[in-house]
Each structure stands twice: as structure tokens, then as C-alpha cells.
Amino acid sequence: MADSIALSALPIGTSAKLVKFPLSGSAFLRLREMGLLPGTTLTLLRTAPLGDPLEIKVRGYNLTLRKSEADHVLVEPITAP
């Protein structure tokens, strides 16, 4: 089983399963409401031309978040079958 890494450290194009993120903070509450919950699968699509923010695909839509938030989001990369 793969180890958990920060979402910001995930290689571009890789899918991962969300493990956990901080309990408090309005940013993380909003991320939850946007459908990012422990167990949700997401794919890191790309970063903006200047390296920040990140764009991910989750539940069929595209979402951006800054690296400063992504640093606190722990994910488990899904290795290709």
C-alpha cells in the first residue's frame, strides 16, 4: 500500500484517494462541501503556468486550489493497475 503524501507533491496526471485534511478552517470546510471527502478519488490535472494554483478533477468537475491548501491535504496515490 502506498504511503500518504501531500496533494501538492502528487505528480501531475496522477489519481489519488483523499486520506484526510485539517478539521478546521473555512477553506477545508468548503473543500468538503465541494465534494472532497476522505475516500474521494481525485486527479491532479495541472498547475497554472506559474506553478500555483493547482487544478484537480473531482466528481466529474474541475476545481482549483492553492498550494498553501494542497500542502495540508493528504492523499494516497492510486498506482496504475
Binding site: L23, S24, S26, A27, L29, R30, L31, R32, E33, M34, G35, L37, P38, L45, R46, A48, P49, L50, G51, D52, P53, E55, R59, G60, Y61, N62, L63, T64, L65, R66, S68, E69
Partner: protein
């Protein structure tokens, strides 16, 4: 369920609320249903757009429809979402009636996240109609949504629609016309860990805040995810008892390390997951890249992304300066013709001068920018409608974050290079109120097109010999634009650290799929915004035009032989002389002072005002006589007035000073108070004065 009394008796129109996530096609549906029968304004006390329209039932009965601002959740994070929440919960009954029925619009291609809001709304226990929009896109994504199944599970009418094609409209109208609507079967288990808190809050909301039971339960659930406690003006506050209970539970959970909001959100998504699993078949693999993803690969590419952004911005400014030229000439010609007609048809006298010079000339001087403003509104609308706006914010976020803003401030600031008014009106897409205010405060530093005539005149007057080398001209022009830009970012940085200190802005933003622009909706929005501007600024511009005219006309002097002498001893002349001690350290005399005062109507008026003051017959095609006169203008004693240093200082003054009444009127509307526009006048003009003082005094000391 029994219907609200007025629906049953038919004495009053039923009120529907349209609710949905941003980009779900809600406004298209609203426009299609209500047509031009819309009333647009603001919710009192808060700058959130309030759209109310009238639709007609199958039987021709009028129905009121409120298009609520787009929201992802009722746990509000922006003023827009706060208004949606408050209207639905009946917290704004003073200005907006609590809707009888709710129409939820969801994007079928993105069902799970869209249903999150619906799940919260179903808690309210009110009659709901669910519209699953963008069925075609869902189809393309390989999703087969069985609306019949959804209808059975939820127990409410579910309508499949493609709003952009007009599909589903009739079905929606039929459902809205039904005299009775079933209530949803909406049972989901509140997680055990938090259900005692929900029960206690619900009881308090019922007793102390007089909420009906179901609303109380829904509100209790919301309060637990509503971390921001975002309150906007016009929203009725909660009772102390409820607040105390809420704080008590939160404190307890923090101590126990309970993730209450996460548990609650998780429980909702679990319920949605079960629902979707039963009603949606995902037939194809979703590994295939969608068209939108393919476009994004280019549009947000490290090199091509910048090229596309640069290309779009170039097209924007080219069309503003070329397409707007002809209509601007027509307006100009129309103004002149109107003034001539008035002159021909009226006896000479003060009244005639008031109408021709004051009203027609003054208002015409601002209305001439209308074509540019319209084009900007159109472009901004197109960028929003296609989905590119979010990409521009995504690309620019990193740069904007340097001064503490986020990418969404980029387009408003950029638009301000043409005119600050559309720029300031476009700041509504910025969710964070502080970020929005900072953007509004610094937007007028961007050199708008009304400053161009002043820059051009001053550059031409800069060198006494007449011929200014082309490179100097271009260099000076670029310098002025650069100074404004640096000023805007500098002050944004400063404000974010001092006056409007807040949390670092988030960049949690949906990148909606690219869509074909809905030109009709964009045009409608463009006309609305334009109408709002004319209504807001029009009266103020009219008033200022009359005042400025009176200032230059009175008191009348019998021995004034030419207009220049008349102006010199008018109130404006006196005002110019009055402020002369203040502007003299900048190298400006009272004649320039009159020009500065006149600029409050619109900055380019400086040119015509100066022509009158220094007594040249104005000729728009040829500025040579004016230039000649500028070069000959002197201080008493024969020292030249418009030295190169003074010309340069004056240009810098125009970059920074706040001199535009139309902008102030719009800022007043967008910030809902006179405090911020007055602050702008103070800090911008104060900074302009200080900077010009430094430039002029240093320049003089160095012998320029």
C-alpha cells in the same frame, strides 16, 4: 400538505425562487421564463444583485420568480450565498418575501456536487421542483440520468432540461402551474454524534426565533457548517439563546476533537451517493478527455496560455479603441447638433447657455464614453459566459497573490484601463468582501481612456520647439500607464496589510466547462448594466454639469470683453485662485486649477476648459492654436507656465488623482456608502499631490 392561503384563494401571486450552483444554467432558464419582464436592483444594504421577474402559468396567471444568486452551499461563504440562504430561510422578510415554492436547477453532468445544495434545500420541507439541466452534456459524458427514478425517490417533480435549447421549459411551466405540489420524501439520518445538538438548536430556533419546525431543523443543521457566520445587512439576527447553545456545542466538540462539520457534510454526500447510484447509469468510462479538458491543455499551457490571454486582451483593447470610434463620433456630432438646434430655437440668454453649454455639453462629454463602456460590458459578459473568466483568474492568481489579492481581481483591474466603471461593476465576481473592496479602491489608478487626451496634450506641449521625438512620446505614454499600474498594486498591497487586513484569499474555484456563449443573455446583461450606470451616474453627471456651468458663468461681469476674462472673474476663477496656494508648490497656477476642477465631470474636459481659460477658440481637429497658447502662457512676471517639468507633473497628477464623478457614483453604489468614494477622493488626490510636490520641487532644484 395544505397550500399557503394566498395560493389557494388565488388572491396573490405565488412566489417561486430559482436556486442552483453557479454555472448550472439558472439564469438562462430564468431569462427564458420571464423574458424582459424583470426587475433588477440590489438587495437593500448589500451589493448583491436582486433579480425578480414575472412568468405566466399555463392558464395565464402571473407568477413571481426570484432568481437567487448562485450558491454551492447554504453555509454561506460569500455575500451572494448569504443572501440566497437568508431568503430561503425567511431571514430577509423585510425586503424579500419567503418563497412559497423552490425550483432547484442542477447541472446533470455534475450531479453529485449540485445535489449537495439540493439536499440542504430539501431539509426546508417546502415544495420543490428539481430541474436537471444540461442533459445533453450528461449524455456526452456517458451518464444516463433516469429522471423518473429520481422523481420516485425524492417524491417531487423532476424535469429533464436543456435550457440553452429551450428544452424542458414547457414541462417546467406545467409543473410550476400545478395548484398542488407534493412535499419531498426526504429522510436522512443526522449522524448520531451531532443529533443532540441539532435537536437542542431546533428547539431554541422554534421558541426564541419563531421559526416553523422544519425550517428550524434545517437552520440548525446549517448553523453547524456555517463557520463564517457570514452576516449581511438586511439579515435578521439570531436570538442570544440560540447563539449561546451553538457556541456551547462548538466548544465542546473542539475539546472532544469531534469533526462535526465534516461528519455532517459526509453524511449528506453519503445520502447523495446512494441516490445517484440508483438513478444514474455511468455507461462509458470517463477516462476519455472531454473537449473542455483538451481546450484547457492549451489555454492554461505554460506558453500558449499567456499567448491566448494576451491575444484576448489585445482584441479587447483594439475593439474598444477602433469599434467605439464611430459611435463616439456620432454621439459627438449628435451632441453638437442638439446644442445647435437649441441655440437656433431659443433666444440668447442664460437659459440657452445653461442648456447648450451646461447640460448638453456636460452630459454629452460623459455619454461619449458609453460605446466603450458597452463594449467592455459585452467582453466581460462573453468571458463569463464562455468560462474563460475563470481561466484568466487561474493563470493570473499567482501574480495577484503577491499583493494579497486573488486571480479574480485581474479582469476588473484590466478593464479599468479602458474605463473604471465596468471594471468596478465587474468586481462582483470576487467573493471575499475585503478583496472586492480593495480591488474597487485601486481600480481608478489604471489609466482610463478619458486621461488619454490630457496625456496627449501635455506630451505635445512638453517641448517648446514643438517636435517631440516619437520615442519620447511613446516612452512617456508607457510610463504613465506603468505608474498607474504600480500605484494600483502598491496600494492594494498596503490596504491588504493595514486597513482591510483579512485572511489570505482562497482560490477554491470551479473551472466550469467551456460553453458556447449565450449571446442573448450576454446582450441582456450588457443592457442591464448599462442602464444601471446611466441611472446611477446620469443624475449626478447632470447635476455636476449644471454646477460647473454655473461656476464658470456667474457672477456676470459687465466689462468682460472675452470669455477668458469672464471665466477669470467667475466663481470658478475665484475657486482656481483660492486653490492656487495649494497647487502652486506643484507648479500649477489658478488657470490650471480651473482645469482640475472642471475635470470632475470627466477628465478629458481639462482640454476644453483650458482652451477657454487661456482664450483660444477651440478646434477639435487642430490643437496647434491651443499648443501655441499653452507655450505662451506665463505666470505674472513673464515666467513660462507650461514648462516641460510642469507638463510632466500635471500628467502624473492625472494618473493618481481621483477626479471622476461617474466613478464615484458607481463606487457608492457598489460599496453601499459614501464613505469609500470619499476615501478615494482623499487618498488618491492626496497621494497625487504629494508625489507631484516631490517631482516638481526635486525637478526645480535640479534646474529643469
Amino acid at each position: 400538505m395544505s397550500l399557503p392561503a394566498h395560493v389557494k384563494s388565488g388572491t396573490k401571486q405565488p412566489v417561486f425562487a430559482f436556486v442552483g450552483n453557479p454555472n448550472c444554467g439558472k439564469s438562462t432558464l430564468f431569462n427564458a421564463l420571464t423574458g424582459l419582464k424583470q426587475k433588477i436592483g440590489n438587495y437593500p444594504g448589500v451589493t448583491v444583485e436582486r433579480k425578480v421577474g414575472t412568468a405566466y402559468s399555463q392558464h395565464g396567471q402571473p407568477m413571481t420568480v426570484i432568481d437567487l444568486p448562485g450558491a454551492y452551499s447554504l453555509a454561506a461563504r460569500s455575500p451572494d450565498e448569504a443572501v440566497t440562504r437568508d431568503v430561503l430561510l425567511g431571514r430577509r422578510t423585510e425586503d424579500t418575501q419567503m418563497p412559497d415554492r423552490i425550483v432547484c436547477i442542477v447541472d446533470g453532468s455534475n450531479l453529485e456536487r449540485n445535489l449537495y445544495l439540493v439536499h440542504q434545500i430539501l431539509d426546508l420541507g417546502r415544495p420543490v421542483i428539481l430541474v436537471v439541466n444540461m442533459m445533453d452534456l450528461a449524455d456526452k459524458a456517458g451518464l444516463k440520468i433516469r429522471t423518473g427514478q429520481l422523481e420516485q425517490e425524492l417524491g417531487i417533480p423532476v424535469i429533464a432540461a436543456e435550457a440553452s435549447q429551450g428544452k424542458g421549459l414547457i414541462e417546467l411551466k406545467l409543473a410550476m402551474s400545478r395548484p398542488d405540489l407534493p412535499l419531498p420524501h426526504h429522510r436522512w439520518d443526522v449522524p448520531a454524534a451531532i443529533s443532540p445538538a441539532v435537536a437542542e438548536l431546533q428547539a431554541s430556533l422554534q421558541d426564541s426565533d419563531q421559526r416553523p419546525p422544519l425550517i428550524a431543523r434545517a437552520e440548525a443543521l446549517l448553523l453547524l457548517t456555517d463557520q463564517d457566520q457570514l452576516r449581511v445587512a438586511g439579515s435578521q439576527p439570531l436570538s442570544d439563546r440560540t447563539t449561546t447553545i451553538l457556541d456551547g456545542w462548538k466548544k465542546r466538540w473542539v475539546d472532544e476533537n469531534t469533526d462535526w462539520s465534516g461528519t455532517l457534510v459526509g453524511a449528506r454526500y453519503d445520502a447523495i451517493g446512494t441516490l445517484v447510484a440508483g438513478c444514474v447509469q455511468s455507461s462509458e468510462n470517463t477516462v476519455d478527455q472531454s473537449t473542455s479538458d483538451k481546450i484547457d491543455a492549451i489555454v492554461t499551457h505554460g506558453f500558449w496560455g499567456w499567448a491566448v490571454l494576451g491575444g484576448i486582451m489585445t482584441a479587447l483593447f483594439l475593439s474598444i479603441f477602433t469599434l467605439a470610434e464611430h459611435p463616439m463620433n456620432w454621439i459627438d456630432a449628435g451632441t453638437v447638433a442638439l446644442a445647435d438646434a437649441a441655440k437656433a430655437g431659443m433666444p440668447a440668454g442664460d437659459l440657452r447657455d445653461l442648456i447648450t453649454d451646461g447640460i448638453i455639453g456636460g452630459v454629452g462629454g460623459v455619454v461619449i464614453f458609453l460605446p466603450q463602456i458597452l463594449i467592455l460590458f459585452f467582453f466581460i459578459g462573453m468571458l463569463e459566459s464562455t468560462g474563460y473568466m475563470a481561466r484568466a483568474a487561474f493563470i493570473m492568481d499567482r501574480l495577484m497573490s503577491r499583493v494579497g489579492l486573488n486571480g479574480k481581481s485581474f479582469i476588473p483591474l484590466l478593464s479599468s484601463y479602458a474605463c473604471a466603471i465596468p471594471g468596478i461593476m465587474a468586481t462582483r465576481t470576487i467573493e471575499d468582501p475585503k478583496d472586492r473592496l480593495v480591488t474597487i479602491l485601486v481600480a481608478p489608478f489604471m489609466s482610463c481612456s478619458a486621461r488619454l487626451p490630457v496625456y496627449l496634450l501635455m506630451i505635445a506641449a512638453l517641448l517648446p520647439t514643438g517636435e517631440v521625438p516619437l520615442m519620447t512620446k511613446v516612452g512617456l505614454m508607457i510610463l504613465m500607464y506603468a505608474l498607474g499600474t504600480i500605484g494600483a498594486f502598491g496600494f492594494a498591497w498596503l490596504f491588504k496589510r493595514t486597513l482591510l487586513k483579512g485572511e489570505p484569499p482562497l482560490m477554491i474555484m470551479e473551472l466550469p466547462p467551456y460553453r458556447r456563449p449565450k449571446v442573448k443573455d450576454v446582450a441582456l446583461q450588457m443592457m442591464e448594466r448599462c442602464g444601471l450606470f446611466l441611472k446611477r451616474a446620469g443624475t449626478i453627471i447632470l447635476a455636476i454639469s449644471i454646477v460647473l456651468w454655473a461656476l464658470t458663468t456667474y457672477p456676470k461681469s459687465d466689462d468682460a470683453i472675452d470669455p477668458a476674462q469672464q471665466v477669470a472673474q467667475s466663481y470658478a476663477g475665484k475657486a482656481g485662485k483660492l486653490i492656487e496656494p495649494v497647487i502652486e508648490p506643484l507648479g500649477f497656477n489658478w488657470e490650471i486649477g480651473i482645469g482640475l476642477i472642471s475635470s470632475f465631470a470627466a477628465r478629458e474636459v481639462f482640454v476644453s476648459a483650458t482652451s477657454v481659460v487661456i482664450n483660444v477658440e477651440e478646434d477639435e481637429e487642430d490643437t496647434a492654436p491651443l499648443l501655441e497658447a499653452l507655450r505662451n502662457a506665463t505666470w505674472p512676471g513673464g515666467r513660462a507656465l507650461f514648462t516641460p517639468l510642469v507638463c510632466f507633473t500635471l500628467m502624473v497628477f492625472y494618473v493618481f488623482a481621483m477626479q471622476c464623478v461617474s466613478t464615484l457614483a458607481v463606487v457608492k453604489r457598489e460599496t453601499n456608502s459614501w464613505k469609500w468614494p470619499l476615501f478615494q477622493v482623499g487618498y488618491q488626490t492626496g497621494f497625487a499631490w504629494l508625489l507631484c510636490l516631490i517631482i516638481y520641487q526635486t525637478g526645480t532644484a535640479l534646474g529643469f
